[in-house]
């Protein structure tokens, strides 16, 4: 009887866990070895989807763009967020307002953010006009219509939108530094820079690595801003792996093929996270 009650208590989670989390992972693994599409019959095709991916120029471009996005945003997001968090922790006047204000973009709907920036980046939009006034070689039709500037423009937006979230995490990390360590540093006469380099930064190593892991997982899956702002264009210059999966699987209905691309990304993300987590446990354990 007791076990029956327990079973009832956990059954909603169990059911949803198995149906919507566990099953899709297994199912898409299976699908990736087939030519499944909603039309016609399904047949086993072995590794051919994976082989095809590596000679598919649009997949390779999506993969390249995704890697460029990850490598080109994360160092900036992390560094800027860390600097802002350290400064806010100094309790300068208005630090609470800064913390709240910086955070607001990161909880705003990504669709809304993407719509706002689409119009700022458009021909005659504010950032387009500003770029012109600053004498920069801005593309005539706005940033999102040039193969050279579209992806970097989306990356700048992403850095801007994500910073506040990581500021919050770094601040939580700074607050969790034991008071005694700071007191000891003060007694030893350590100034701001000395304290930063000898106390704050080393103590923040675990949270920094955590920030890197979650930001990596998130950035590899970039999709919403691509869909809303460029639909992968111009000429595939902003297509990402998740956009490719969406396009192949849910617009062209090559679901087996799309699943293979998704699984490849899954493995890439897994490898990256495990590597980073290995690094975390070596650098002195979780917070």
């Amino acid at each position: 009887m007791r076990h029956f009650n327990t079973f009832i208590l956990i059954s909603p989670w169990l059911l949803i866990l198995l149906t919507f989390w566990a099953f899709p992972i297994v199912y898409s693994f299976g699908l990736s070895f087939t030519d499944y599409s909603i039309f016609g019959r399904i047949s086993f095709t072995g590794l051919s989807n994976y082989v095809k991916l590596f000679s598919d120029p649009s997949f390779l471009q999506a993969l390249k763009n995704t890697l460029f996005f990850v490598v080109g945003t994360i160092p900036f997001t992390t560094t800027i967020a860390l600097i802002l968090a350290v400064l806010i922790a100094e309790k300068i006047p208005g630090h609470k307002i800064f913390q709240a204000g910086y955070f607001i973009p990161s909880i705003t709907s990504m669709v809304v953010i993407a719509l706002i920036f689409s119009s700022l980046y458009a021909k005659g939009g504010y950032l387009h006009l500003l770029g012109k006034m600053a004498g920069l070689p801005v593309p005539e039709n706005g940033y999102l219509f040039s193969t050279k500037t579209a992806l970097p423009a989306i990356m700048v937006m992403d850095i801007w939108v994500a910073i506040g979230y990581y500021v919050l995490l770094f601040l939580a990390g700074i607050k969790s530094i034991p008071l005694e360590i700071n007191e000891a540093a003060k007694l030893d006469g350590a100034g701001f820079w000395r304290k930063l380099s000898s106390v704050t930064l080393p103590q923040l190593t675990p949270i920094t690595l955590f920030v890197l892991v979650i930001n990596t997982i998130r950035s590899f899956q970039i999709f919403i801003e691509i869909y809303v702002m460029t639909k992968g264009g111009p000429l595939g210059s902003t297509s990402t792996v998740v956009y490719f999966v969406f396009d192949e699987g849910l617009q062209k209905f090559n679901m087996g093929y799309a699943s293979a691309a998704a699984y490849l990304l899954f493995v890439i993300i897994l490898v990256f996270s495990l590597l980073q987590m290995k690094l975390i446990s070596r650098k002195g354990g979780a917070l």
Partner: protein, 272 residues
């Protein structure tokens, strides 16, 4: 002396950053109140004419009313579902010894690491096969319990004393009475964190509502907005009015529940 100047410089720099962080949202709001063309003129935002015409227009078309209704309905149902189901699971995991307890708890943590966007194809097929594509079920059912919530509730309940539960049990109270009448009232702080977190995530959610629905009757606000963008007769002022309607509830919730939001986010982080 120099320290004072340093702090003033710092405050000025941080204020400039703040302006930069908030400018796009201010832009959204100002443009939503403009009916004139704002492109090509950097001073257009400063002109004094404001009107609610854009808001009236998008609502009188009726379409956005439906998006707002769907978003509110789905967010409320999903939030309530999480409050109930995460509590149930968290309670069982914290208090009951049963085979697989540890495994289920670890699963909640492990699932958090799954990159959600890579399983869009199987989830799409699954939902279609279940006959739930383009129904409210697709927007609600998969999100009724979430791993972070299970984790949060399990940790919180583990740290509560269990004497009240024990004496209620001796008095013959059933498990659900104990959970709803004794445990959950003690969990209010954790439930507030959970509710705010789930509400915001769900309100902003785009990818799954987008792939799992295909008729405007079922679109949530973010999905509807992304579709409105493509319409010819939709101008930037109306689009920004719709965006403001999507962004405002989030900002209001944030201003009121800043502490809960911070806790929800750092609970996930400090877990390590």
């Amino acid at each position: 002396m120099s320290k004072g100047i340093g702090r003033i410089t710092l405050t000025v720099i941080m204020s400039l950053v703040l302006v930069g962080m908030l400018f796009p949202l201010i832009y959204m709001f100002v443009v939503s109140l403009k009916t004139s063309n704002i492109f090509g003129d950097i001073t257009a935002m400063l002109s004094a004419s404001f009107s609610l015409k854009n808001y009236i227009q998008i609502f009188s078309r009726g379409v956005i009313t439906r998006f707002v209704f769907n978003s509110v309905l789905v967010a409320i149902v999903v939030t309530m579902g999480n409050i109930i189901f995460c509590s149930m699971t968290g309670y069982a995991l914290a208090r009951k010894k049963f085979f697989g307890n540890r495994f289920l708890f670890i699963s909640a943590t492990a699932v958090l690491m799954i990159p959600q966007h890579v399983v869009i194809i199987p989830v799409y097929i699954l939902i279609s096969k279940l006959g739930m594509h383009n129904t409210y079920w697709a927007l609600i059912l998969p999100w009724l319990v979430n791993p972070l919530g299970v984790f949060l509730m399990r940790q919180y309940i583990s740290n509560l004393p269990d004497d009240c539960e024990q004496s209620a049990r001796i008095d013959g109270a059933g498990e659900f009475t104990i959970l709803f009448k004794i445990v959950m009232p003690m969990c209010k702080p954790a439930l507030a964190v959970l509710a705010v977190q789930v509400f915001l995530t769900n309100w902003n959610s785009f990818l799954y509502p987008f792939i799992l629905t295909s008729s405007p009757k079922l679109y949530t606000l973010p999905v509807g907005l992304s579709m409105m963008q493509g319409l010819q007769q939709m101008d930037i002022g109306q689009l920004m009015a719709g965006s403001t309607i999507a962004a405002l509830p989030v900002i209001i919730v944030f201003l009121f529940f800043q502490r809960q939001i911070t806790e929800g986010i750092t609970a996930g982080a400090l877990r390590g």
